[in-house]
């Protein structure tokens, strides 16, 4: 009985102490995905970063990129490339980064005027957080695709560096009519693989799981998603998105109402955007209201090209 109690105390302690690593993909990987509020339905190389099973839509090759700057300082970028190797196989590589420069390194100096210490800036330093993913996709049956990605995470802040690896797994189903798609994605499926820092600290790589459904209704694609952002919290986030194909012009209008987590709190946000498709060159833009008082909106830009 005592051993059982100790076991549960240890389990509880672990979950209380566990801190999830911040992944640079958390902010989103494409303006399209931000515009519809779901992940896993992009039919370009960015699928390497968010749903490797969706590489099934790559016919020959695809190249994609994404950028946004949050709070004027936090620069998110990604780049991905995917190639079809045969009727059943596709592979891809992707890189996503969050970079912040100009963080003040400070010290205290004695102020004779106040007889107390004052904070001064000595220099400044940078923060880099990136992930590299290598993905493959296999078309198991004509309508079911599976995919997986190996992820390498690295962070550097001041003199501290952290590294970790993990694996994503995904499944994509398309109905016979082609009007309905179902996406199941799990990131960091191996729970024991964490990010370890050179000062000995560890952070859990969050196992984020999502179930998404896309349904085409006339000129509309309707999206619905249920996501659990991490295993350490019993949180479920709902998203609902709509995509409208404008008649006679290669333009799609995007909109979403989605939930996101702040610790164990759930908040709601809205985003909208556009996607222009010019013979395989897709240019997307979306925006949402910013929480930060010095910027009104967050703007997201992405581009993809391929066949």
């Amino acid at each position: 009985m005592g051993k059982v109690i100790v076991f549960f105390v240890l389990i509880l302690s672990t979950s209380l102490l566990a801190v999830d690593y911040f992944m640079p993909t958390t902010m989103g990987n494409s303006a399209y995905a931000k515009g519809v509020g779901v992940i896993g339905f992009e039919n370009s190389a960015v699928s390497v970063l968010e749903n490797p099973a969706k590489l099934s839509d790559i016919r020959e090759y695809s190249l994609s990129g994404f950028t946004t700057t949050v709070m004027d300082d936090f620069a998110y970028r990604n780049l991905a490339f995917a190639k079809r190797l045969g009727p059943h196989w596709a592979v891809g590589v992707g890189y996503a980064e969050l970079g912040v420069d100009g963080i003040p390194h400070t010290d205290l100096v004695w102020d004779n005027f106040d007889d107390e210490f004052t904070v001064i800036e000595l220099s400044n330093y940078a923060y880099r957080n990136y992930v590299v993913k290598a993905a493959f996709q296999y078309l198991h049956a004509s309508k079911v695709s599976i995919g997986s990605a190996l992820s390498y995470y690295r962070t550097s802040l001041w003199t501290t560096h952290g590294n970790g690896i993990n694996v994503d797994a995904a499944l994509q189903y398309r109905s016979i009519s082609g009007l309905t798609e179902v996406s199941v994605v799990a990131t960091n499926v191996i729970p024991n693989l964490v990010v370890t820092y050179d000062n000995g600290a560890k952070e859990t790589l969050p196992m984020r799981t999502s179930l998404g459904v896309k349904r085409q209704v006339r000129s509309f694609d309707v999206y619905w998603q249920l996501m659990s952002p991490t295993l350490s919290e019993s949180l479920y986030l709902w998203s609902f998105g709509v995509e409208y194909q404008c008649p006679k012009v290669p333009l799609r209008v995007l909109g979403t109402r989605y939930q996101f987590d702040v610790f164990d709190d759930v908040r709601v946000a809205y985003a909208t955007g556009l996607q222009l498709d010019l013979h395989g060159l897709k240019v997307s833009y979306s925006f949402e209201k910013s929480d930060y008082p010095l910027t009104d909106n967050n703007h997201y830009f992405s581009v993809s090209f391929g066949q």
Partner: protein
């Protein structure tokens, strides 16, 4: 509450001190100099702080602080936190900034997504809302949850206006 403004002229250099009606010392910039002034002649001028004129301008030039109640509150110089980066093993720190006048202040912290994760309200008479240099004690645990390694942005505001902001690195 400012009621008196004293300006001291020692060997041609001007120093100032603020005091309330009971003579309680609030702020000065001459104490160390006074101790080393020796037997030099000192001119002492005492005026009500509510007066306007060149002596108030002199005070503002000396201290950077405003005696004009209609002037908007602002931060003089930089808003900085110490230590930076801040470690969870030594999670006590301060956010330092100098206000030109006392004011109710709000401090917000934003995570790497730009989402507000912490907010505190400071009254004008408390540390953080006083005229002059403020050292606001800041503990990472104030946020209520452990933060992942990364960079967080904090913003100092008064009446909806941003007075200052900066970035804070957090390491585990």
């Amino acid at each position: 509450m400012r009621t008196l403004l004293l300006v001291m002229i020692i060997s041609g250099l001007t120093y100032g001190v603020q005091a309330d009606a009971f003579g309680t010392h609030l702020k000065s910039n001459f104490e160390g100099t006074l101790r080393s002034a020796g037997t030099q002649p000192i001119s002492l001028i005492i005026i009500p702080a509510t007066n306007s004129g060149p002596l108030q301008n002199m005070w503002e030039e000396l201290t950077g602080e405003s005696l004009d109640d209609t002037e908007p509150v602002r931060i003089i110089g930089q808003t900085l936190s110490y230590p930076n980066p801040m470690s969870w093993s030594k999670q006590n720190g301060i956010i330092g900034y100098e206000l030109n006048k006392s004011s109710d202040i709000e401090i917000f912290v934003f995570d790497m997504r730009g989402i507000r994760i912490f907010h505190t309200y400071i009254k004008a008479d408390d540390i953080g809302g006083r005229s002059g240099y403020n050292r606001v004690p800041f503990r990472l645990s104030n946020i209520g949850r452990e933060l992942p390694t990364g960079v967080y942005k904090y913003v100092v505001m008064a009446d909806g206006d941003v007075l200052g902001y900066s970035k804070m690195g957090v390491i585990r």
